[in-house]
């Protein structure tokens, strides 16, 4: 029983990583109704760049978070410029394909820069907390805390600032928003900068939690980020947080009961269950079925 509880708790905490990635996907979708497939790759690239920056500047380990945030924001703007601004948004598949291309490009640049070798990443929070044999990882609790703070910050930004008002207006009715004098280009660029910065932080925290960075992380984080976004509800910020925790916990439980080789089958089944019975996700609105 203790093993089961421990597995559940470990999964929940690890799910905080998925939540952070899911937040970035959902933020862009919420505003532009487009999926940025390159998000996880850019987040990890931000984490790599942050680490390189602090090594070059001789800064302390904690500085990797703001450095990764800045690098991630820059990558966000670049992705917006290359994959969205220059691509006809009216075509439903154009931005999807351009961001898939960007994902592969970023991934291969990182592979070539590092020769695919894992890079040791600084850990900010050490140790475990718990009682007896039941232990919780301090670094994952920190990630969980950061995810909650980011969620609160985003909700505040969206519902209590002029920028948030403009963002929601663009999200709900871009044409009306433009008629009100809101620059779509500006709002979209700010959204990508924000999500990119958030991605940089997520990448740094993932590197810290895993203990290293490797291009191997890109594929699973992209897949899990998308699953979290769909299960949480496309565009829903609280949904991304809750779905991230749910997917993390479910993944660990499936592994506990059925083994690692069957684990991902059940995670995908969970996704299909949502797509069939609740296509809008936990916190989204159900899209009309034709």
């Amino acid at each position: 029983m203790l093993d089961l509880l421990q597995s559940l708790a470990d999964g929940l905490l690890f799910g905080a990583i998925y939540s952070l990635i899911g937040l970035g996907f959902t933020l862009v979708f919420g505003v532009m109704h487009k999926i940025n497939m390159a998000y996880a790759a850019a987040s990890l690239a931000g984490a790599y760049a942050g680490l390189t920056l602090i090594k070059l500047a001789g800064l302390p380990a904690w500085a990797v978070i703001p450095a990764a945030c800045a690098a991630g924001a820059l990558f966000g703007v670049i992705i917006y410029g290359v994959c969205f601004k220059l691509i006809p948004l009216s075509h439903p598949l154009a931005t999807l394909m351009s961001t898939v291309g960007m994902l592969l490009l970023i991934d291969e640049i990182v592979v070539h820069a590092t020769d695919g070798m894992p890079v040791n990443y600084p850990t900010f929070v050490h140790g475990m907390v718990g009682y007896g044999d039941f232990m919780l990882r301090g670094d994952l609790m920190f990630v969980f805390f950061v995810a909650l703070v980011v969620m609160a910050g985003l909700i505040y930004l969206l519902f209590n600032t002029r920028l948030g008002l403009a963002t929601r207006a663009v999200s709900q009715h871009p044409v009306a928003a433009r008629l009100c004098g809101i620059s779509l280009d500006h709002v979209n660029a700010v959204t990508f900068t924000l999500s990119g910065g958030l991605g940089g932080i997520a990448g740094a925290l993932i590197g810290s939690a895993v203990g290293m960075l490797s291009p191997l992380l890109v594929a699973p984080l992209t897949v899990k980020g998308l699953i979290v976004t769909v299960i949480g509800g496309l565009g829903s910020i609280p949904g991304a947080i809750v779905a991230g925790l749910l997917v993390g916990a479910a993944e660990n439980l499936f592994q506990f009961f059925r083994g690692v080789t069957e684990r991902d089958i059940y995670v995908m089944l969970l996704l299909f269950v949502f797509l069939v019975f609740r296509p809008g996700g936990m916190f989204g609105t159900d899209p009309a079925r034709s």
């Binding site: 421990q6 695919g116 894992p118 890079v119 895993v210 203990g211 660990n252 690692v260």
Partner: protein, 400 residues
């Protein structure tokens, strides 16, 4: 000089050059060796190092006169390297392309999951007219999963024999640390080499050496969360923990074991993890891990080869060391079999190389003599290294 005289004079010079052995024109004959492996993707470092080793070895041979061909002419080795992205379809496609080129032999591939299906499309038995499989010699440097060369008589490998290495390692452990009785494994379930190394090699030979195998924890190549697996290992409480995984997940598991306070008395790693990747990823957690390997720069030849390869932006390790050795072995075979390296003798030359490789009973390696087995595999000299203060240090040299 009239036009007719110029033509006659030129023709005479050309004829003289053509018929004179060792002439400038003959010296330009090329011995094409094609390498391929992963130059992109997460195992790119393997391809980068193999390419550098092939080019450095070819350069050394060419600078010392090249290869003596069947008619006494000198040939220069030309290395061409392709990317198969560690993908079976890509590997097969590259092999087909290479086989239709002027290349005499390939040194490839990086990944066992490429080697296995790739050898499958090659002619199984040499000379079988009913088998239309590719008739092209491949001399593998990296793909290490046991027993692959038996798939085709055109396949040869110069990779370490893991059964031999781990057998000796467990015997050595039994002799030097008799208090260690139990073994637990950690295995990357979705990677061919890791799986084969645990289930068919480590687990088998450890049992034969009298160690009690308590079981194994499993994970996948892309996994990042090892909490369940580390807890399983903690419950098993083994004396020895053997991790059959590549550096990324080896490091992930070692870090999680450190967090959960799983401290076996001895750690053993996968042959391929005795590389800089492991030390870059988790030098602290990997401290004292013991890995059998077929390369370490412990003598003048190995050190010189490592220096030569580093000039080509590569690093010499057990895999790229084999690529280096393969070029020298091929030089010996080409000279012994009187390969001509002419366009009209291409298939005959390939068959000569295949025959020459099949005849070899022993080859020279960087650490000493390598025995060749009838099933076209190698039994290479090996040693045990362990991670110490962020470096690989030689711990024991059983076969040197």
């Amino acid at each position: 000089m009239s036009h007719a005289r110029v033509c006659a004079f030129s023709a005479a010079i050309a004829l003289a050059a053509w018929t004179m052995p060792g002439s400038a024109i003959a010296q330009e004959r090329q011995v094409k060796i094609t390498g391929f492996g992963a130059l992109s993707g997460v195992v790119r470092s393997f391809g980068v190092n193999s390419k550098a080793a092939l080019e450095a070895a070819a350069d050394q041979i060419n600078k010392s006169g090249g290869v003596t061909l069947g008619d006494g002419a000198k040939g220069k080795i030309v290395i061409d390297y392709h990317d198969d992205r560690c993908n079976a379809e890509e590997g097969i496609s590259v092999l087909r392309r290479v086989a239709s080129s002027e290349s005499l032999v390939a040194v490839a591939p990086t990944c066992s999951n490429v080697a296995e299906p790739m050898f499958g499309i090659m002619q199984k038995k040499f000379g079988d007219a009913g088998d239309t499989g590719l008739q092209f010699p491949v001399f593998t440097d990296v793909a290490i999963k046991i027993g692959l060369a038996k798939i085709s008589e055109w396949a040869f490998r110069n990779v370490p024999n893991e059964t031999e290495m781990y057998g000796t390692l467990f015997r050595w452990i039994k002799e030097t640390k008799p208090d260690l009785k139990t073994l637990y494994g950690g295995v990357e379930e979705d990677f061919a080499h890791s799986r084969a190394s645990w289930y068919a090699v480590m687990k088998e030979v450890a049992g034969k050496e009298g160690l009690q195998v308590l079981g194994e924890s499993k994970w996948l190549l892309n996994d990042t969360n090892f909490s369940n697996q580390a807890r399983e290992a903690k419950k098993a409480s083994p004396d020895i923990m053997a991790i059959a995984a590549h550096p990324f997940t080896t490091c992930g598991m070692l870090k999680e074991m450190a967090r959960q306070g799983v401290r076996p008395k001895l750690l053993i790693g996968l042959t391929s993890s005795s590389s800089m990747e492991t030390l870059q990823g988790c030098a602290g957690e990997a401290e004292t891990i013991i890995i059998p390997t077929s390369f370490a720069p412990i003598n003048a030849d190995a050190q010189a080869a490592a220096a030569a390869v580093s000039k080509y932006n590569g690093s010499l390790d057990l895999h790229s060391g084999a690529a280096w050795e393969n070029v020298f072995i091929l030089k010996r075979v080409i000279e012994a079999e009187k390969v001509m390296a002419k366009p009209d003798t291409l298939q005959a030359d390939r068959e000569k190389i295949r025959a020459g490789l099949a005849k070899l009973a022993e080859t020279d390696g960087l650490l000493g003599k390598t025995k060749r087995t009838p099933d076209r595999e190698a039994v290479k000299p090996y040693l045990f290294v362990h991670a110490k203060s962020g470096k690989w240090e030689v711990l024991h040299t059983p076969s040197l």
